[in-house]
Amino acid sequence: MKRPKPTLYDELKAAISSGMAPWPEERFDSLAVRIARWHYDEIPPFRALCEARSVDPDSMRKWRDIPAVPTEAFRRFELFAGDDPPREFRTSGTSGSKPGRALFSDQGLELMAEAIRVNARAMLLPDERATRILILAPPPEAAPHMIMAHGMEQLRREHGLAGSRFLIGSEGLDSAGLMRAFADSEREEIPLTLIGASFGFVHLFEAMAERDLSFSLAHGSRAMDAGGFKGRSREADRDELNAAFESRLGIPAERCVNLLGMTEIASQMYDNVMRDGRPAPRFKVNPPWTRTEVVDPITLDPLPPGRPGLLLHVDLANFERPIVVQSDDIGRRLENGGFEIDGRAKGAESRGCSLTIDEMLSQ
């Protein structure tokens, strides 16, 4: 039978619900190891990886003993320890390649919801102010496999004032509706929470600049952008985006948070600025049921602060899926314990004239 001892799920859920206070290292390791041992039994590719690395369940004592599963493995293997029938989310993927898949049981969805709730309250809504939430994304009905839309819908449902909604329909962004909502916020003093993909905001501000539009949104408004600028739009500087939030909408930098989220993990890492109420320093914050390490890409050894390396995430809320996930994002550890993500690595430029995967798939 696939279901774990109820106590593990309940214990984890209770721990997450307890809030954002740091956890004792032992609690984290104990939960991590117990989940990984369960995964060893239930997720054959994970067990294969353990075997390849000569790790057996008993030898796992701390989370560092748990082999990291590469995100690429989510494309190639079914990595799921939960109940059927699962809910499936997918990575957007490069055209031509299989998408990565993240499967959730109802229980798993509930756990993710709790993680989102606790994290968002602390990092995005620390003032507990009710806002109208406008989401520059398609609604979950239109994008049932998009984990981002799922999480945003939760925020809208749980925290949004009347009029909170998704603004991307089958015809693209409802710009007119969005401009009206900006004007309403300015006039009626209803604060907004704007949520969307980073490159979507870049396009929005470009379009507003062309028409020379700007608004002064109600005090208390805030913005959360997710994802990077890579690939889909011209690379834009984070400072530039924040400056546009300020100049086009009157949202100061300390109320603009960037979010790191991935389909392959259930939790997200927010910027600290909204929580700390100041625009600098800016870094990503791990909720206590997660860890992010900056490691050497080949040896996976942790790197000292400042050195660029691969981001390795541990997310206990990923409960039914591998909890130690090796991304291909590059970032740096900061002296203060937070971390930041690098822009797209410059490497690609120097790949010679031999065909690269991206090149071939983009055709």
Partner: protein
């Protein structure tokens, strides 16, 4: 500071100022290259001046003399004591991360095929009678009495990518072979080689070098691109799909472009049964994937092997051993973190597959270093390699299965190394099938990195395509 640009002495004043551009390699840390600051007007002026110089300087020179000067330049670069060569070998690794040994080999290989006899053979192949570049020459093709005269485009604009170290002089040579000036935009990723090459050419023949220049401007500097394209008569460019799109969007209609985009090389081999033959083949397969750290458009991404998975795995072990040998002789590039991260993903998945019992065999150095990776794998499709010495070996039951795998990639197909063993009929049929499919070069394993000047790069007559003809026809009544 190493210079990332070069203009003839009389045009250097057009560069207002210079500024350092920093390169960081995991191995060497930070290294600054001097990049030029030039206005778009000055860029246009430089272009016009170079074209004017070519009209005065190149038109009056016999093509044979121009070839001789290029030959002398190649001879210098082939001399290990040559100071410019030594500077290149010291400098380029600090910019690109390639090892000095690899840069030295690249210079060696490229300059060997830049010798005068190769250049003349290229002209004969693509232009016919090289002297038609000097004067009207009687033609064997026109009716009796007919004469041909050949001209280059005037000013060739080169847009270089940070490609193989020490290759971009090829475009300069091709321009000179049709008596045309050349103004290049160097790649920010490797701006050091061309200025050194041009300095050596200047020392040999300042008048010849005075028709050449290499500059740089930001990718987004629209007015610079406009000046550049307004003044050039023919563009030769290197880069990826995105670079091509940007370039074409900026170019005025009708300006001819020879774009060398990304390409796919593969090896097709029968797995020899005896260990000695297998080891010999493995050495050459490994060498092809090692040279230029696999960055050349000719480099193999994958070995399509005729043989069982187990035979391929044996071959893989041999190739791995040879990779280890080349690792010492030609140390690999140290990967930037993003590339290492991508490699780690591929290795991780292969590790899981293998442990799950799939037909997968991952071979890496014993220290797990990123120096090389062999992945023996019965994979779907034709996944390109992430490069930097990552070679897949894929088992096949038949030549038809090999061709079916290649078909979807036909438009990228470039170089194919073939070694089937004894059956020459099969090999001939395979060559014909590959040529039809789109391959532009076929050679034995071990020779993928050494095309001649006469090879039709991307299947095109790259020098011939730049020629404009004037024909004299008909006889006085």
């Amino acid at each position: 500071m190493t210079k990332g640009w070069w203009l003839p002495a009389e045009l250097r004043h057009l560069v207002d100022d210079v500024r350092p551009r920093r390169h960081a390699t995991p191995e060497h840390g930070d290294f600054d290259v001097e990049m030029p600051c030039i206005t778009s007007d000055a860029l246009a002026e430089a272009a016009r001046a170079l074209r004017g110089r070519a009209e005065r300087e190149l038109q009056r020179r016999p093509i044979a003399e121009i070839v001789d000067r290029l030959d002398e330049t190649a001879i210098r670069w082939l001399d290990p004591s040559d100071p410019h060569r030594r500077t290149a070998i010291e400098t380029i690794p600090r910019i690109t991360g390639h090892s000095p040994e690899m840069v030295a080999l690249a210079i060696e290989l490229e300059q060997r095929s830049s010798r005068g006899d190769h250049l003349l053979a290229c002209l004969r192949s693509e232009v016919g009678d090289p002297a038609a570049l000097d004067r009207f020459r009687s033609s064997g093709h026109l009716a009796p009495g007919g004469e041909n005269r050949a001209f280059g485009p005037g000013l060739v604009g080169g847009v270089f990518s940070a490609n193989i170290p020490a290759l971009p002089h090829l475009t300069i040579m091709r321009a000179l072979l049709v008596k045309s000036a050349c103004l290049g935009r160097s790649s920010a990723g490797e701006p050091a080689f061309l200025p050194l090459y041009l300095r050596s050419l200047e020392e040999i023949d300042a008048d010849l070098a005075s028709c050449l220049g290499v500059l740089w401007w930001e990718r987004e500097a629209e007015t610079h691109w406009t000046s550049f394209f307004d003044e050039t008569d023919f563009v030769v460019a290197y880069g990826g799909t995105q670079a091509e799109r940007e370039l074409r969007a900026r170019m005025p209609a009708g300006l001819p472009l020879l774009f060398h985009g990304h390409r796919l090389g593969v090896s097709i081999v029968g797995v020899p049964e005896d260990a000695e033959s297998r080891d010999d083949l493995a050495a050459r397969l490994a060498y092809d994937a090692t040279v230029f750290d696999q960055h050349a458009c000719l480099s193999p991404h994958v070995v399509l092997a005729l043989g069982s998975f187990d035979a391929c795995a044996e071959l893989g072990v041999d190739v791995g051993r040879q990779m280890e040998r080349w690792r010492e002789e030609l140390p690999p590039r140290v990967l930037e973190p993003a590339l290492a991260a991508a490699l780690a993903q591929l290795r991780g998945v292969a590790e899981i597959s293998e442990a799950l019992g799939s037909p997968t065999r991952l071979l890496t150095p014993t220290d797990r270093s990123s120096a090389w990776t062999i992945l023996v794998e019965d994979v779907d499709g034709l996944p390109p390699s992430p490069l930097d010495r990552f070679l897949r070996i894929v088992p096949h039951e038949s030549i038809n299965a090999v061709l079916e795998r290649l078909r979807p990639a036909r438009r990228w197909l470039q170089n194919v190394a073939i070694e089937l063993g004894a059956n020459e009929d099969d090999a001939a049929a395979l060559r014909e099938a590959l040529a039809r499919l789109g391959a532009t070069r076929i050679c034995p394993p071990g020779q993928m990195a050494t095309p001649s000047m006469m090879w039709h790069h991307d299947g095109r007559a790259c020098v011939g395509a730049m020629v404009r003809w004037c024909d004299r026809e008909g006889s006085a009544p």
